[in-house]
């Protein structure tokens, strides 16, 4: 396992509120990592920084073997470099079909002229069918994404993330609004992806994280409070105080 993403000493302040405070975190490839923490701990802001949505006031975000800094890069360049993200609130393109959503996410050249002269290939179609099967939307491919249920939109977004085939998958609350059986399926997908990719999951549901069975990072007030196995962190006195005790 080699280090894929290294965030060190990052701080960000919104109107005087320190959302991220000297945060350092690393993830290797392949690796599965869960990030937990109470509301306002900075979990989503952390993802915003990595994906280029938010610029930190200080600190470094280093990516890949060539140790490229992500801080000067645009959101789209970071995405092309291999970081994919699933948002907390499912954000799919509701006016378009499930197939179109997946096709847009599919790993292909992203330039306007590449896309303009893009030819639908049998391989791409097969990949879309495969993904649709995996996320249980096989029979919904021609449907408008806006007509899907909340849970199905979650699935579609997970499918889009897989379609991008990024090296690092940032997954924000994937299990929200899912039935127990669906949660189990989600853990399976994430665990499988983590065999070859770096996967970072933000989740509140402890049962879900237990099933992931991976290293856990606890965030609190914008910094790392504890890191280790789930059993290890849940026995940590500070973690119990700020998070689990309540």
């Amino acid at each position: 396992m080699t280090t894929l993403l290294e965030v060190s000493g990052v701080s960000v302040t919104f109107d005087g509120f320190r959302a991220i405070n000297n945060l350092s975190i690393q993830i290797g490839e392949p690796e599965l990592r869960a990030v937990i923490g109470p509301n306002g701990a900075g979990k989503t802001t952390f993802m915003d920084i990595v994906t280029g949505k938010t610029r930190p006031d200080e600190g470094r975000v280093i990516w890949g073997e060539k140790s490229v800094s992500l801080l000067g890069m645009s959101e789209s360049a970071i995405a092309r470099a291999g970081i994919g993200r699933k948002f907390q609130k499912p954000t799919v393109f509701e006016e378009q079909t499930v197939r179109e959503n997946l096709a847009m996410a599919l790993r292909n050249k992203r330039g306007p002229f590449d896309v303009l002269f893009h030819k639908r290939s049998r391989k791409g179609a097969a990949r879309i069918a495969e993904l649709a099967e995996e996320i249980g939307l096989r029979d919904h491919l021609p449907r408008r994404a806006g007509a899907l249920s909340h849970g199905q939109k979650q699935w579609l977004e997970i499918g889009m993330l897989l379609a991008q085939d990024p090296r690092l998958l940032l997954v924000d609350e994937p299990a929200a609004g899912m039935t127990p059986a669906e949660r189990e399926h989600t853990t399976d997908i994430l665990k499988r992806a983590a065999k070859t990719h770096a996967v970072m999951v933000i989740e509140h549901d402890m049962e879900f994280i237990r099933r992931l069975g991976c290293k856990v990072t606890v965030l609190h007030e914008g910094a790392v409070l504890a890191e280790g196995s789930l059993d290890h962190v849940t026995q940590n006195k500070e973690v119990i105080d700020v998070y689990l005790g309540r």
């Binding site: 994906t51 949505k53 645009s74 959101e75 789209s76 360049a77 995405a79 092309r80 994919g84 993200r85 948002f87 954000t91 393109f93 509701e94 006016e95 378009q96 179109e100 096709a103 847009m104 996410a105 992203r110 330039g111 306007p112 002229f113 896309v115 303009l116 893009h118 639908r120 049998r122 179609a125 097969a126 879309i128 069918a129 495969e130 099967e133 889009m160 991008q164």
Partner: protein
């Protein structure tokens, strides 16, 4: 485990039946106008009516471009008529220059000493610019003697302006109403600039006599009007095909996604600004071409043509016709602009209410405004949205 995608690969036209329908209707319309104007003489379809219809087709073409940039890509440009006007000016320069050259050469032919090239050029300049008190040909007119070069300008100048403007605006992530205001400012600035006498485009006089096509002066206007009508129909057909192809595939999918949530598109790895710039520039070029076909039929172009209100009308046509479906823009542009020339051209009889007489020339704008409000309130999908009700009954 998986089944291969069994959707058969169909052709572009088979997947988009509305394109064939549109082209069929356009063809029938062109044929009808040709037969009516030629077969039955001007009594049934006058030359000026053929010109109005040809001009309407040009307006339909810029409306289709507007639908792509606004209805599909979500950029509410309120400046596309500037590109239309630039196209008109570019072709107008050649039309004026070449026709004036013909007149000058003819009048100097009887001179005892044959005129030098410089003398001819000076005479042309005096003819064209005497009206603004100048007798020099501005540098802007360097290519005006050549039709091919001016045709290049028709596409190049709007394209370059859109490219530079769009690059500056999109790069700074100016979106929504702020971008609309910027585009209004652009067209207003251009219009005010051209109103000045010393800009080399004859100030508020504009370019005139554009209906006289050099080299075709021996032909009656009825023939020329029909030729331009055909050219306009062809341009609309080709432009429609181009844009329908553009918005049908994956590119269309990406620009609609940009319209609905551009931030999300960025996280998928698409460089949103490049897409917007491509759409903005391409539609500007097509607008320029539409303008270059429109003004020889109108006969005159002046800076008032690119006043901010013109571009706002364009958005109104597309909104009334129905956004995001191309043919909606055509319907909106045709219906509203024809209605506009009927009401303001004295076609509509005054309504005498006894205590007040409604003169449509004054009241047309009120009617248009009410129509716009009604469409927005009751048919948010525009006139063409009514097709959905007919076709897809639940």
């Amino acid at each position: 485990m998986t089944r291969p995608d069994i959707t058969p690969r169909k052709g572009f036209l088979a997947e988009n039946p509305s394109v064939s329908w549109f082209l069929g209707c356009l063809g029938l319309f062109t044929l009808g106008v040709t037969v009516l104007s030629q077969g039955f003489g001007p009594a049934l379809l006058s030359t000026s009516m053929v010109k109005i219809l040809g001009m309407t087709l040009c307006l339909c073409l810029i409306a289709v471009a507007m639908d792509v940039v606004w209805g599909y890509c979500g950029i509410l440009s309120l400046g596309h008529f500037a590109f239309f006007g630039i196209g008109g000016y570019a072709i107008g320069m050649w039309l004026m220059y070449a026709r004036t050259e013909g007149i000058v050469v003819e009048s100097l032919a009887n001179a005892p000493i044959p005129p030098t090239q410089a003398e001819t050029r000076d005479a042309i300049a005096t003819q064209i610019f005497g009206v603004v008190g100048s007798n020099e040909l501005p540098a802007l007119w360097a290519f005006a003697h050549s039709l091919p070069l001016q045709l290049v300008m028709v596409a190049l100048v709007p394209g370059l302006l859109a490219l530079v403007f769009g690059w500056l605006a999109f790069r700074s992530r100016v979106t929504g109403v702020y971008l609309s205001i910027l585009t209004q400012a652009m067209t207003l600035a251009l219009s005010l600039y051209l109103f000045q006498n010393d800009t080399g485009l004859r100030g508020n006089n504009g370019l005139s006599g554009l209906q006289n096509i050099p080299g075709l002066l021996h032909l009656p206007q009825s023939t020329i009007a029909l030729w331009f009508f055909w050219a306009s129909a062809l341009a609309l057909g080709l432009g429609y095909l181009l844009f329908a192809w553009l918005v049908s595939g994956k590119f269309g999918s990406v620009i609609r996604a940009i319209r609905d949530n551009e931030a999300r598109v960025r996280f998928l790895g698409y460089h949103v600004e490049s897409y917007k710039l491509l759409v903005f520039t391409l539609t500007a070029i097509v607008s320029g071409l539409a303008g270059a076909l429109y003004y020889p039929q109108a006969g005159i172009i002046n800076p008032a043509e690119i006043a901010p209100i013109a571009s706002i009308y364009l958005a109104v046509w597309v909104a009334i016709g129905g956004r995001g479906r191309l043919y909606g823009a055509v319907i909106g542009a045709a219906v509203v602009s024809l209605a506009s020339s009927w009401f303001t051209g004295g076609g509509a009889p005054d309504v005498n209410l006894g205590f007040y007489t409604i003169n449509w020339t004054d009241w047309w704008l009120v009617l248009l405004g009410l129509g716009f409000v009604a469409v927005t309130l009751f048919f948010p999908r525009g006139i063409s949205g009514l097709f959905d009700m007919l076709v897809r009954k639940p």
